[in-house]
Amino acid sequence: MRSGDTMDLLTLEGVTKTFGDVRAVDGLTLSIRQGEILGFLGTNGAGKTTTIKMLLGFFRPDSGKIAIWGGDPRTGAVRRRIGYMPETACYYPFLTIRELLDFYGGLCGMTRADIRSRAEQLIGRVGLAGVEKRLLRHYSKGMLQRAGIAQALLHDPDLLILDEPFTGLDPLARIQLRDLIRELRAQGKTIFFSSHELSEAELICDRVAMIRRGQTVWCGALHEVAGDGQQNLERIFLKMLGGEETA
């Protein structure tokens, strides 16, 4: 496990969260550097989504500290610079993609003109041009995922938190999303994403953090994980996390 350096954008130190008898996150320590792509990997119930919710300020940790740009994630100033894509692509079914972006853009304080131009750009970028007038209830799962990416990027955030972004995407869409993520990194954005898709993580991540039962098992660069190159991420994942399902 590596500690953060002075360029850390996001740090979690000894973060714990308990729900009743279940300790979802147990002394988690993690950091992300400015401009990197960190893959957050773990089995089902490892505490990934709980960690993400704490990063977004949905609730406070029971103990420990979370800092994003040195500030509390619950403040408006911090959240204005974060783009979030939820695991389940749930958006208002009675809206079109433009109306959805208009809504979220309004919540981010953007002007109507800014929203319009940015929406135009993003709708084309995520491959939803041509279905703008369709209501979201008529979108496929993959299309909803793309809509989710668009709304996460709408206000040009500096930090992207993506929860299972590759779920439901066809192979072409996955390639497009990978390219988009690399493009964003090249622009200086920081991306934090959780995934079960180890192959995708292997292709784009700078560092990975593996979590089991709410604790960081390993965090470091991919080449350190791969070691002599004879082991791939899947084998390392199984070795580190034991292949057991957590409660």
Partner: protein, 260 residues
Amino acid sequence: MKMCGRQTGALVRVALLDLYRRKDLIVVWLLSLVLLLPLAFFSPFGISGAGRYLNEIALLLVWLFSAVIGVGVAARLFPAEFESRTIFPLLAKPVTRGRIVLGKYLGALAASVSALTVFYLAYGVLCGLRQSVWFPVVLFQAFLLHIGFLIVVTALAMLGSLMMTPSANLTLCGLLIVGMLVFGQRLPSLIAAQPYPGKAFLMLVHALGPHVEFFDLRQRVIHGWSRVGWDVCAVVLLYAIGYAAACLGLAGWLFCRKKV
């Protein structure tokens, strides 16, 4: 300030789109038309000239449907968000929970008032066409106070949506509204006649319950009584705003503490 305005405006727009795309309003308007049109041609005992009964039934429908829309829209705002999980991307945006409550409330209110306006315009036209004597000032006051009614019931339903299940919320709101409309004026005499502990309970209801009967001017509109004093109108609207503010304050506090 501008940020606040944009955020609130965004929430209001979505509430309006939700109501109008559900097509509930069209069903309600059509139902009103179907019920009222045959009655408009009715002549009891072959004698024409009676019009107040039609006004009464029309206004009853306006009140019934506006209450259903107001309470229905507000009661499902938060439960629908939690159920469909759209609450997560919403909370991830740089908007405080209190502002979300306020924005959603204003959206629900705007949606209900827009539907109400159409009802009253249609009623005003019907009234004007049928009757030789028209009381526009009283009708305008009735419309104004009806908005006050929606201010209160929408806030109440929104508070209820954060405390209980949608069906329980709708039932409780329905009971409160009907109960107050029917018995609200008589509460002081009921209190005087009751022994304890019933008396204490009624006093509590009288003190804290939503006095929606304040906003009911149907009697004056239907039977051609004179208007209410404008000072009384102002007091009643202030009551509505105050009551709604108390409900929304409590709702905001509850939502801030709610685990997602």
